[in-house]
Amino acid sequence: MKTSRLSLWIFLSPVLMWLVLLIVLPHLDLFIMSFRAKDEYGRMGFSLQNYVHFFEEPIYWLTFVRTAVYSVITTFFTFLLAMPVAFYIVKVVRPKYKGFLMVLLLLPFWVSELVRVYGWMILLRESGVVNFFLLKLGIVDAPLKMLYTDATMIMGLVYTSMLFMVVPVISVLESLDDSLIEAASDLGGSKISIWREIILPHCKPGITSGAIVVFMLSLGNYLTPNLMGGKNSLWFTEQIYNQFIASFNWNQGAAFGFLLLLLSSGIIWAGLKLSRVKLGEVAS
């Protein structure tokens, strides 16, 4: 008993060290920092001012809400797209092409996000490839404004997140016995009812874990919203960046950081409650 306890600690210690040194300590420091502000005499002291400031300035909390809503929308669209893709790879295509399709899914991740986003921009800008062909084919008269809109930004986010939804869904779909689908069909189930009552409930753990990852990644994404979103469509990470780097107000930035952490935890908690999945059941 003693020795196994000891070996457990030996194995755990690198992980714990990593957690404490790199995650817990800096966050504690930021946490303390977020409650400190200069009073009217210019002295640093305990204060709730950073948080009050957030609620007083509409631009801050509007950006905050916007970021949350768009991340949820991104997660939803990613889910809509990932389900048929995963189903196709697992249940429809012949096994020997499965690996090939997985590599195709991975392919975009071999280039950095920055390059990917610039790739999109080359395609979508007003003098870009898509507009060029649309004009050439006479479908439109004037170039369409496709870049710097919210729709484009969501598209970019969905594209970036796809893999993180498809992979966990594939892993749960693989454990779905084909005969369950056939049995449902034999008992009179239509395609829609089979999806709703058999496939989706079976995939729930995979969808949940995929959704958590996609949501977190979108919420914390900086590049895509910044480069593809419109000039006046701010992402909350940009606000944090501005506080730290532009205004050099680390205390305000720390408060924003904590608000974002609270937000993501809150929405994920609500999502788990709604879908009635326990955190322990979420497939990895």
Binding site: D177, A183, L187
Partner: protein, 371 residues
């Protein structure tokens, strides 16, 4: 009598491989029809065509006179009990059973009544609220059947539903399935590789081999009058002698390779000098017959007594070492027999069946009793 299921010249090929090869049969309403064959012979493929998961390459499948070509599985009046049952693990027993009713837009109170009713009928009253993984193997079995029966299909298709159960439970479920079928009166089409299941439960059994039907008939017919060597090997236990035909006529005389001359009946025409196989049931051999006149008699030595209650047998061998199974009636007359003794056995020419010899490779494929 009305025909519920009619299959005509049905063929299914996967590439160049013929999984089901020109199968024709009719199943009258309310009967228990079994398809018996070794695994890989195409039983599941045939059943899946009836259920609608595969389209026949050629031939027709009709249910109550309606051609099923192009009709999707969810529109066919036939339901399939899957080999591994395929109960929905995300639903309770009652939800599993009500699934089909919900799809048919049956109102909730009616649905509840019918679900409870069918659970009662399969002997699981009050199990509706249980989760599927709380059930034992036999109970899952019954839920899978109830889930189909509640839809009142014209034909219930069962794909080796007892395969996963242990022996004791299988024996019990055999009888229960038969009783259930008699009670509900639905036409059952049952496939199995276990000859005892087929013989015990069915009105009519079709023996299938390599995609073809070898013989179709009542269990008694198959057992007593096999038409092909495959059926003789596959259905029930048989002793086999290889030999050469010496005389043809009402009964044929066959000289076995070890030198016995036996008379027996023949299923297919034989000519003198042909090689032939002689099949004989263990229970056709009488130990120490009191009136040996007209019987084929010979002596064997007892190697072992295989006691198994009513199914007890003697493992015996002829002088040349050919092993034979002899039924050992448990009427205490033969209690004196001990391993090592030599006994006389005799059998009536009517009980032995001869077929032209098949080549050894085909015989091995048949996979039935001992060669």
């Amino acid at each position: 009598m009305e025909i519920d299921l009619s299959v005509k010249n049905c063929v299914k090929s996967f590439g160049s491989f013929l999984a089901v090869d020109d199968v024709t049969f009719d199943v009258p309403q309310g009967s228990f029809f079994s398809i018996l064959g070794p695994s890989g012979c195409g039983k599941t493929t045939l059943l899946r065509m009836v259920a609608g998961f595969e389209e026949p390459t050629s031939g027709t499948i009709m249910i109550r006179g309606r051609d099923m070509r192009g009709v999707l599985p969810n529109r066919r009046p036939a339901n399939l009990v899957f080999q591994h049952l395929a109960l929905f693990p995300m639903m309770t027993v009652a939800e599993n059973i009500a699934f089909g009713l919900r799809r048919r837009k049956v109102a909730a109170p009616e649905r509840k009544r019918r679900t409870e009713d069918i659970l009662e009928r399969v002997g699981l009253p009050g199990y509706g609220g249980k989760r599927v993984d709380q059930l034992s193997g036999g109970q899952k079995q019954r839920v899978a059947i109830a889930r189909c029966l509640v839809l009142e299909p014209l034909v219930l298709l069962l794909d080796e539903p007892l395969g996963a159960l242990d022996l004791k439970l299988r024996e019990q479920m055999k009888v229960e399935l038969k009783k259930l079928q008699a009670k509900v009166g639905t036409t059952f089409v049952y496939i199995t590789h276990d000859q005892s299941e087929a013989l015990v439960m069915s009105d009519v059994v079709a023996v299938m081999n390599k995609g073809r039907f070898e013989q179709m008939g009542s269990p008694q017919d198959l057992y007593h009058a096999p038409e092909t060597p495959f059926v003789a090997r596959f259905v029930g236990e048989n002793n086999v002698w290889a030999g050469r035909v010496e005389k043809v006529g009402e009964v044929v005389a066959i000289k076995t390779d070890e030198g016995f001359v036996f008379s027996a009946k023949s299923q297919s025409p034989l000519t003198v000098g042909d090689r032939a196989d002689l099949f004989l049931r263990p229970e056709a051999m009488r130990i120490e017959p009191r009136e040996p006149a007209g019987l084929n008699t010979f002596s064997v030595s007892v190697r072992a007594i295989l006691f198994d209650g009513a199914a007890s047998r003697l493992l015996t061998a002829t002088d040349s070492g050919h092993e034979l199974m002899v039924a050992l009636p448990q009427n205490r007359r033969f209690d004196h027999i001990a391993p090592g003794q030599t006994i006389t056995v005799g059998w009536h020419p009517e009980s032995g069946v001869c077929f032209p010899a098949v080549n050894p490779a085909a015989a091995a494929d048949a996979g039935g009793a001992r060669p």
